[in-house]
């Protein structure tokens, strides 16, 4: 499932850290500087990419690093999004500093409950259980009209208040908020995946029985990883709800879970930037296709996906990773 990355920088000489940081710096600078040059349409697309990037990274944390295939990850996006939406629409809680943490917390609680049940089984059963829970929550959203608006969705989710005097939301300012969230999430996930805990997740993915014999409580690790993934998905969920202004039951269900899984796989599981690329690829490709043959988008997506699974183990991310490593060696030699 994607090339394994070595934890820590023991591989490269210590001086090389600047080089390994370089691409990140470049990307950050570019993304910071872009908004004035983009139309509202493109800016909105970029915002959407970043939101899905957070969502995809969170899924990659359990799929690529821990080796647990989940088809119910949208449940956490949806729970957070609905929680945020309900707070804003039904309870008039408009402070961002309340809405965001509560949304994330809701996702975390959902992950704690679902994870506890789902992790009683493994492999394909785990996949099925997560799928079932996603659908269960989606059905609950349909049923609970009073709160969620049922199939019509929860509408009128306005951008919450940042508490800054004289501040109003624009497409640009929301983009910067999302971008900030993305950078923070990326940084945190980067630290966690490179940490001891992250390495043990990789060990569990590679050989769980041996990890148990080496003294690890593998269930606890998987559970914690699952909850963490849920929390990060929650971040994406709140941002998602605010971005679109509406939450529908489908956001909790299989279609959304499958889409984010596709992003992870196409971009490359087991790397952090892979899912980011995957998110970008799919969002951009979808906009492109919908200009020409919008009804055939699922067909095209399915084909791309199958090609990636069959021939590009590790998705685009691996090629990028190898390309960059090759570049770095050449640059270092200069």
């Amino acid at each position: 499932m994607g090339k394994v990355e070595l934890a820590g920088s023991n591989r490269q000489p210590r001086r090389g850290w600047l080089f390994s940081l370089a691409p990140y710096i470049v990307i950050v600078v570019v993304l910071l500087a872009l908004p004035p040059f983009l139309s509202a349409y493109h800016l909105s697309m970029l915002t959407k990419v970043l939101i899905f990037a957070i969502f995809a990274m969170s899924l990659d944390f359990i799929v690529g690093y821990t080796g647990l295939l989940s088809l119910g990850h949208a449940a956490f996006l949806g729970v957070a999004g609905y929680a945020a939406g309900i707070l804003i629409v039904r309870y008039d809680i408009v402070s961002f500093w309340l809405v965001m943490p509560l949304g994330i917390l809701a996702a975390g609680i959902a992950a704690a409950i679902i994870g506890y049940i789902a992790l009683r089984v493994s492999g394909v059963y785990f996949l099925l259980v997560t799928l079932a829970f996603g659908q269960l929550l989606s059905a609950a959203a349909v049923k609970w009209r009073a709160m969620t608006g049922g199939t019509d969705g929860l509408v009128g989710i306005t951008r919450p208040d940042l508490g800054l005097p004289g501040f109003t939301w624009t497409g640009s300012s929301y983009y910067y908020l999302v971008f900030l969230a993305f950078v923070i999430c990326f940084f945190l996930l980067y630290r966690i995946t490179k940490s001891t805990f992250g390495q043990t997740l990789v060990g569990i993915r590679e050989n769980e029985p041996r990890m148990q014999c080496l003294g690890y409580n593998t269930w606890a690790h998987k559970y914690v990883a699952f909850i963490l993934a849920g929390l990060f998905a929650g971040v994406a969920g709140v941002l998602f709800a605010i971005f679109y202004g509406i939450m529908v039951p489908g956001n909790l269900g299989l279609m959304t879970s499958a889409s984010v899984m596709l992003m992870v796989i196409i971009g490359g599981a087991g790397t952090l930037f892979g899912p980011v690329i995957g998110a970008g690829f799919i969002v951009v490709l979808e906009r492109f296709v919908s200009d020409y043959v919008p009804e055939r988008w699922p067909l095209i997506l399915g084909c791309v996906f199958i090609i990636c699974v069959m021939f590009m183990r590790g998705g685009f991310g691996i090629y990028l990773s190898r390309f960059w490593k090759g570049m770095r060696v050449r640059l270092w030699k200069c």
Binding site: M1, L69, G123, V124, L131, A132, E295, L299, I306, V309
Partner: protein, 292 residues
């Protein structure tokens, strides 16, 4: 009493459809250790194709025979698709089981979109052969004949599949493959062909019941995922790898769903999931399953 009986029959008839849906998935999971997530999509393709064939031939051979032709066409179409999927794609990822599962997700997208391309997004309604239309009085309730026929067919199919599993050589080979692949191969069994055969059979059954299940489940673009979900719940509750598991799972879910809708209408849709969660908490390998 009448109400109990009515819902009992409703539950059993729904359960038989669930059994048929679940069998293919269960066998594939038990033998190949992968979840064929396109199982529901194959059911859908079978339903659409079968309906199209039935409508086409209705004037030629009459209301009853066209139905039979329809279900056969649905089954064969789905079976062929299953064959292509397995030999062309899944087989090439031998031993990459999680990748195989991912592949089947891709198939769902493709199949659903192809169906939409051909038949459009409007839901269709199923047909019932005239010989099986209408209702008959039964122990104080009137009950649709078609549903009775489903029960009869389901039980006959269950018996047939069980005999196939337990009493035929091929069935023994399949069970051997489920227990111990290496051993089966060492005994000279061509496991690849067994895999393909089981997969295609599962697809055939799914497609076959596409038209049969239409009056109960409908024929629309969403049924791909819906049917998969139902099949999955049946498989988890009943246990994988055996016909009896799928039957038990199907009947249990069917009955619980029927009584749930009757007595707890607010919870109706969730009764299935509640059963699923209970089973997972206390008996993850399913009611009749081997230990995972």
């Amino acid at each position: 009493m009448d109400v109990i009986l009515l819902h009992f029959l409703i539950g059993i008839s729904f359960g038989c459809i669930l059994f048929l849906l679940g069998t293919g998935l269960s066998l594939t999971m038990g033998l190949m250790r992968i979840v064929n997530l396109s199982h529901g999509a194959l059911y859908m393709v079978g339903g659409y194709t079968g309906l199209a064939v039935a409508k086409l031939t209705e004037n030629l051979v009459g209301r009853n025979l066209c139905f039979v032709l329809g279900i056969l066409a649905g089954g064969i179409c789905a079976g062929l698709l299953g064959l292509i999927l397995e030999t062309g794609f899944l087989r090439r990822l031998y031993k990459r089981e999680l990748d195989q599962v991912l592949l089947t997700i891709g198939f769902v997208y493709i199949l659903t979109n192809l169906v939409q391309w051909v038949w459009g997004p409007v839901p269709q309604s199923g047909v019932v052969p005239s010989i099986l239309s209408g209702s008959i009085p039964l122990g104080g309730v009137t009950f649709p004949v078609f549903r009775l026929a489903i029960i009869a067919f389901g039980l006959v199919a269950a018996a047939g599949l069980w005999l196939f599993q337990e009493r035929t050589r091929i069935g023994a080979i399949v069970r051997a493959g489920m227990d111990n692949k290496e051993m089966a191969m060492a005994l000279g069994i061509n496991l690849k062909m067994v895999f393909t055969g089981v997969f295609a059979l599962g697809a055939f059954i799914a497609g076959f019941c596409g038209l049969i299940g239409a009056p109960l489940l409908g024929i629309n673009l969403g049924i791909g995922w819906d049917a998969l979900l139902l099949a999955m719940i049946v498989v988890i509750v009943g246990g994988t790898g055996s016909v009896q598991g799928a039957l038990v799972g199907g009947l249990v879910i069917g009955l619980i769903d029927a009584y749930g809708k009757a007595f707890f209408p607010e919870l109706a849709y969730f009764t299935m999931y509640i059963v699923l969660i209970i089973i997972l908490l206390f008996r993850p390998s399913g009611l009749m399953g081997r230990k995972i």
